[in-house]
Symmetry: C2
Subunit: 380 residues, 2 copies
């Protein structure tokens, strides 16, 4: 009878109101009804993206959105400065490779942010069509200093393409103020929807770049989406029910206030990090993202056993490490439809399973630390 | 209080059981639970596709599925024989053009099928990497003789890529028996789901072809999907709720029996054509598809007014003509979650609005003709 608690960093929990909206009868997308809905959705997306630029909605996963961002703005064989400190950044390098790009990889270890001054240095040494990075690298639970990096990139001719898949709607991102040309997110993170939609904001600088690029893909052709968007329309059949759910989810975010959502997310991350510390466990990352917290296992712990016990006993779903961190850490999401007491509940369940599986610690210390931090945040 | 009747040829009506399944709490896709579900779904898809070949599921519209089929099997600059008799076939020519293919277009007018003997003739004159066509060309309400065409193509080295978007699950298609290498469909037609998923079956001949092709796109890379499918997995985050709805929808098709679904669909098409004839209206197409019926407007009728009145007065949603048939015909879908009495209801509503808007005819003749045809079909 334990309620399902989905603390994976995507998919995240979907509000009941959104689930029920998606269960309403389907209607056709080539109608005024859909265009009116889509106009509202697109406007709310601009609020969540904190941008005056158009935000394109496409049916597909975050990978589709990010690939669309890259292939439409970077010419075949173009020069890419790829900032890489995790699994998702590595995926974007793969996309660049498939497009025969000349790639300069600026790498930081998993769990460390890319130093902005190294970006400035790399930009000084070569000319690039684009700089790519993950703002919040989900696999490494690490946030990059997007504002400082954008400050360097905007002085050059390169466009800045940022994966905001676990940052948009979760932690502060201000693409227009900072100079982020393309920002991408997916539906199944802070936007509180099931997977199936991706979103891409496009600056004027990126649009100009796009005019010089001829790429073969039709489905992911951003010029087609941008042209349709002017008429509140879409080039190909959209995932109508997901877009309708999105409308409800975005209105929920607007009602809470985006800054309050950011604060709430940050407070859950702080509570979780505080709990880990109180339990004597090391938080992964020297620059942790507030979207997702990575925690090192005690020595000898088995990832599958640990997460399996949480699932079986408590219906609590947390994530494994990814890439080079597989088996070494577990990850807890703070994005989207989650509240203080769900967060407290997860800490409690983690403590119980830690003790069951033989870890020695001051039982209850994590819960108390989280409780105090959450109370502090609630007091404002 | 009129129930919404969605008779557009995609999206089609979604069964309540499917809508409610998609409203259940979201769960994570990198789990045994998802792999078990996806294994069942993939097996049921093979039944609906009538194939022993793997059927790939990707998140995106039908366009994404069809483009994936083409770009992974036809090399850049490859030779394509494109059979074209409608708007969707034209879209596939666009994809081939974007990939610098050498394209031979074999064209029939909207409303006419491609003569198989002309395909044989064209195949005799040149060498091709692939032959592309729409089985049921939705825009022209016309079905092509896929079996006869496949019979010619299978004798050559070319692979046959068929758009089955409004044929799979609606009218008989037997890719393995006929020799169709790649068959594509979308979720929002006969599969009774909202838009957002596409499906691609891949033959051994197509797989061999794929090994020779290097294409830049990652999201639509079929080799990635095929490899994951072997482990009942997906390369990128899938649209989990839609896949769960699909599971329910496919089980409904299996319970009815695919051949019964085909018969039911054919009987609605026959009833609609019979009604049109009884009303003195011309059915569009010299070889009509049983998925969707196109009917010519009486002289002087305005498409927007006619369909608008059906929507406003009766909540009946039918489709306009597409491409060169815009404004000249209206279209009624027979796919998916629709029954005999819904079909009869649409004929009734059409008659009422025809009379309101000044068309002179034997009022009731359409309803009686449809009623008799539906009764005949029900008697078996």
């Amino acid at each position: 009878m334990n309620r399902m608690r989905l603390f994976t960093p995507g998919p995240t929990s979907v509000p009941e109101e959104v689930l029920l909206e998606m269960a309403r009868p389907v209607f056709h997308h080539r109608t005024q009804e859909y265009r009116t809905l889509f106009a509202e959705v697109s406007k709310l997306l601009q609020m969540v993206f904190q941008t005056a630029n158009p935000v394109v909605t496409l049916s597909g996963s975050g990978t589709a959105g990010y690939e669309a961002a890259m292939i439409n703005t970077i010419p075949q064989g173009g020069r890419v400065l790829a900032l890489s400190n995790g699994k998702f950044a590595e995926r974007w390098v793969t996309v660049a490779q498939r497009n025969n790009c000349e790639i300069t990889v600026l790498k930081a270890e998993y769990g460390h942010a890319i130093p902005p001054e190294q970006v400035a240095e790399a930009l000084g040494k070569g000319k690039f069509d684009a700089v790519t990075l993950c703002h919040s690298e989900t696999s490494a639970c690490t946030v990059n200093d997007l504002q400082a990096i954008a400050g360097h990139v905007r002085k050059t001719d390169a466009i800045l393409i940022a994966d905001g898949i676990t940052s948009v709607g979760a932690i502060p991102v201000k693409p227009d103020d900072w100079g982020v040309d393309i920002l991408v997110t997916g539906s199944q993170k802070a936007l509180m929807l099931p997977p199936g939609l991706a979103f891409v904001s496009v600056s004027e600088k990126a649009k100009k770049k796009m005019e010089t690029v001829k790429q073969p893909n039709l489905y992911l052709s951003l010029p087609h989406y941008l042209k349709s968007l002017e008429a509140n329309d879409v080039p190909w059949t959209p995932a109508v029910t997901l877009v309708r759910g999105l409308h409800v989810a975005l209105k929920m975010i607007a009602a809470e206030g985006l800054e309050n959502v950011w604060k709430r997310t940050a407070s859950f991350a702080a509570a979780t990090r505080g709990a880990a510390k109180a339990l004597g466990l090391k938080v992964f990352s020297s620059n942790p993202s507030d979207s997702v917290t990575g925690i090192h296992y005690p020595a000898g712990f088995d990832d599958k056993n640990f997460r399996g016990a949480l699932r079986k006993q408590f219906n609590v779903h947390i994530a494994a490490g990814q890439g080079s961190m597989e088996g070494k850490i577990f990850r807890i999401s703070h994005m989207g439809y989650v509240d203080a007491f769900d967060t407290l509940g997860v800490i409690s369940a983690v403590e119980i399973v830690l003790r069951q599986q033989g870890y020695q610690f001051d039982f209850g210390a994590g819960v108390v630390a989280a409780h105090k931090e959450l109370a502090r945040a609630a007091a404002g």
